[in-house]
């Protein structure tokens, strides 16, 4: 039964993009793949899952005790399904990282965390030491593979699919020793720097606290988090929880825009896993242009207003 089961992540209304990324990883394993949606009143989410390219079946398990993403309940349910599958994948989000190891232990198998590349059905690559090394991992033949998929490494598959939908009732009882209380969304209007998928950062060249308004307004325009280099923080232009870099936050957004940041190694360490690095700096020789995917040697005080106009 060479088949992969993907655990969908959702918030009750919408499917999380991580699911389509897991599907891409499943596609790379080159065997049929299903998605299971666990929750309560999930028919909309299940329909969304069914549109992901290449999915065979979407299994929707609707039960009140599955409404909240509690690993103890979700794990029990997945384990009940596990027999039909050789591979079980979840996203490397807090949901997946909380859930998948519990499933692996209940199934009595080791887990592969953060798959970044698939070499074969039992052969993967993953980052260790905070991404400073990539290791090849092989899991034994004939043993179930339980893994999390590193979402930053995979593009989401398109919505061109039409999987069949299967509704099932929950197999496992509600566990009472764990109770969901509430969720407080990240405070403030701006996305949290650590988890934002887009980040706009300013460096020493911003020259003042007031000028950082340019960074904030651009960030707000594209729903991005706001960051800064250590030099900007040291100069007092912004608070230190905005610091990105070796001694600040290490982040991996899909888009990182650095304005007036020279790109010292210490800063690059904080963004080396970003999807696309964009650098705007007056100095064409600035080291940041060595790692930037898109570079513009121009004055940020011209570029930011121009960008705002073009994006507004």
């Amino acid at each position: 039964m060479s088949k992969t089961l993907i655990i969908a992540e959702h918030d009750g209304k919408d499917l999380n993009p991580s699911t389509a990324k897991c599907a891409n990883c499943a596609a790379a394993i080159s065997q049929p793949y299903d998605i299971v949606v666990l929750g309560s009143t999930i028919s909309e989410v299940a329909k969304q899952a069914a549109t992901i390219e290449g999915v065979e079946t979407v299994i929707a398990i609707d039960a009140e005790h599955l409404a909240k993403p509690l690993a103890v309940n979700h794990a029990a349910e997945v384990v009940a399904l596990a027999d039909g599958y050789s591979h079980i994948l979840g996203p490397s989000t807090t949901y997946g990282r909380d859930l998948m190891p519990r499933i692996a232990a209940l199934l009595g198998v080791n887990q592969v965390s953060d798959i970044s590349t698939v070499v074969g059905p039992h052969h993967f690559k993953r980052p260790i030491y905070a991404g400073n090394a990539i290791v090849d991992v092989q899991s034994p033949e004939g043993v179930k593979v339980v893994a999390t998929v590193r979402v930053a490494s995979w593009k989401a598959l398109a919505n061109t699919g039409s999987a069949s939908l299967e509704e099932r009732t929950a197999d496992s009882p509600a566990l009472t020793h764990t109770r969901y209380l509430d969720l407080q969304s990240g405070g403030g209007e701006r996305p949290d720097l650590q988890t934002a998928s887009r980040v706009v950062s300013g460096g020493r060249a911003m020259a003042s606290e007031e000028n950082f308004e340019l960074i904030y307004s651009l960030a707000d325009m594209i729903s991005a988090g706001a960051g800064a280099s250590r030099a900007a923080v040291d100069a007092g232009y912004c608070p230190n929880d905005m610091q990105v870099g070796q001694t600040g936050k290490i982040i991996a957004p899909d888009l990182y825009m650095a304005f007036g940041i020279s790109g010292a190694i210490q800063h690059i360490t904080g963004i080396k896993d970003a999807g696309t690095i964009v650098a705007i700096n007056k100095d064409a020789e600035a080291p940041i242009f060595e790692v930037a995917d898109i570079g513009l040697a121009a004055d940020l005080f011209d570029v930011i207003p121009e960008m705002k106009q073009l994006l507004g």
Partner: protein
């Protein structure tokens, strides 16, 4: 030091040693070998023994043989016998081999990582019952009522940038001992304090220093020749700046490369870091490093004054050993063997007499001093430039230091010429390609780590001077002589001068250059929170 009312907790030892370098560890080991019941503790500010230590280094094994007979059967992790020695004179384009002076013949010596050596010595000391405490900084001296040294005060931890206690605040304890042995190395901050307080240097020449900057490289296959020792003088330095390079080939394709500049250079625009980087680009050197990668790097000052500058090394309740005293033999460019010997000598003196009293006499009558005396005129000979220096060195070597004359050392900080008095020098420096591209990139390899929310440990005693005088007189040399780019002049429209001094204390690699070279002598280096600073690996 925080002015707090609550009394500090006290620990008591027979001997407290400040600094787990070769001198401190040798002293600790020897003390226990001679009198195993002695309670001995070693305090070390780095997070791990060896993390703040950096040196070439080619060592003479003699003192180690004495301290730990049979050590060669299980040597420290990096220990390569010297196979071949060369001294060369460099011009911008050429390399000319010179005859190797006897002080630099290294047959029988070993290329080591001093940090790894100390990391190897420490467990030996612990096995003998020495208590070693890395991660704790001796921040102050505990004085007895009669003014004698009674021990040390460990720095408070968990103090914020404004000096206020954080949630993690932990008051430093005091360690009391009848004898405190200062083994802080070159320009130790407590040693500096005590030398001033007890006027230990009133009969000595001013001390002289150099800055040593070093990188450990992994070079391309086939390039490393284990045991090869290269030194050079000449380019990229001008004839009035004393210094030179070293390249030591180790094992596993690793090569140690470094550059030493004496800190009595006169050009305020000079950058020792840049000189080092230029050296690596000499046509005879560059191919070695092309295609390689830097593993680790850092900087530390070197004590150069020798016999004439040696202060009195004893005071009531304390002793100075190793480079805290200043025992490095500069013509040999070796201090480790002297440090180990001095540690052992101090130990035997203490074990014998039960007090440090008389140690100064003991040291001056010992082979350690004899060695320094023999070469005492070589370093000051270079005060008149390279060529005179080489001639003096030649004469002094041939006469084995027996000529009845003693040349004198001058203070480094007063050697700096003012901008207006300085003629621009064409150093024939080239555009650089090899890593690291600049000091910030270099600091990365020192893996230096300071909690940014702590008091700035570089005290500027008269901050106005930076803005009012220094720019005009010297052009802010601190922004150039610091190998870690701690000091920067930044634009600041809020100040009347339009600029201010920014101290990036977190970059500091604890080399002490600023404390030494600042022409106004207003920079006072004190120890940051224990455990802070570089994390040198195999340097």
């Amino acid at each position: 030091m925080s002015e707090n009312v609550t009394e500090r907790e006290v620990m008591e030892y027979d001997v407290i040693i400040v600094g787990a370098g070769p001198a401190g560890l040798a002293c600790a080991i020897r003390l226990k070998q001679l009198k195993e019941d002695l309670m001995v503790a070693v305090i070390e500010k780095s997070a791990e023994v060896g993390a703040h230590i950096l040196s070439g280094a080619v060592i003479e094994p003699g003192p180690l043989d004495e301290l730990l007979p049979g050590w060669q059967d299980s040597p420290p992790p990096v220990c390569i016998p010297v196979k071949h020695d060369e001294l060369a004179f460099l011009t911008a384009t050429k390399r000319r081999k010179l005859p190797t002076p006897p002080q630099q013949k290294n047959h029988g010596n070993f290329i080591v990582s001093l940090g790894a050596l100390c990391g190897w010595l420490a467990p030996k000391a612990e096995d003998l019952g020495v208590d070693i405490f890395p991660g704790y900084a001796a921040a102050g001296i505990h004085f007895l009522a009669d003014g004698a040294v009674g021990g040390v005060i460990i720095g408070d931890m968990g103090v914020d940038r404004e000096g206020q206690p954080k949630d993690t605040y932990m008051q430093g304890i005091e360690i009391h001992a009848p004898t405190t042995v200062l083994a802080e190395g070159c320009r130790g901050h407590l040693s500096k304090q005590l030398i001033n307080k007890f006027k230990l240097d009133e009969n000595s020449d001013p001390q002289a220093y150099g800055i040593g900057i070093k990188e450990l490289w992994q070079v391309g296959p086939g390039k490393c020749q284990p045991g090869l020792v290269h030194h050079s003088i000449g380019w990229p330095l001008d004839t009035h700046t004393y210094g030179g390079s070293f390249i030591y080939h180790m094992d596993k394709d690793r090569v140690a490369v470094g550059f030493v500049c004496a800190l009595d250079y006169s050009d305020p625009e000079f950058s020792p870091f840049e000189a080092f980087q230029q050296f690596k680009h000499h046509p005879s050197v560059k191919p070695l490093f092309e295609g390689g990668e830097i593993l680790s790097g850092g900087a530390r000052t070197i004590i150069e004054g020798g016999a004439q500058s040696l202060p009195k090394v004893e005071m009531p309740g304390a002793l100075l050993i190793g480079d805290a005293a200043g025992l490095l033999n500069l013509p040999k460019i070796k201090g480790t063997h002297q440090a180990i010997r001095s540690g052992m000598l101090a130990a035997s003196h203490l074990a014998d007499k039960g007090t440090g009293e008389g140690f100064d006499g003991t040291l001056r009558a010992s082979p350690i001093m004899k060695e320094l005396h023999k070469v005492r005129n070589i370093r000051p000979g270079f005060n008149k430039g390279l060529w005179r220096g080489l001639i003096t060195a030649g004469i002094e070597t041939v006469t084995a230091g027996k000529l009845p004359r003693t040349l004198h050392n001058h203070a480094d900080h007063s050697a700096l010429k003012k901008l207006q008095d300085m003629k621009t020098v064409d150093r024939k420096w080239v555009k650089r390609e090899l890593a690291p591209r600049d000091r910030l990139a270099s600091v990365y390899f020192a893996a230096t780590d300071h909690d940014e929310d702590q008091l700035v440990h570089l005290q500027i005693l008269e901050p106005d001077v930076c803005i009012s005088r220094c720019g005009e007189e010297y052009g802010h040399p601190c922004t150039r002589f610091c190998p870690a780019q701690v000091y920067e002049m930044v634009e600041d429209t809020d100040t009347s001068a339009g600029q201010r001094l920014q101290i990036n204390a977190a970059n500091c690699v604890h080399c002490k250059t600023c404390d030494i070279k600042d022409p106004y002598q207003i920079i006072n280096w004190v120890t940051p929170e224990g455990g802070s600073g570089p994390n040198y690996q195999n340097l």
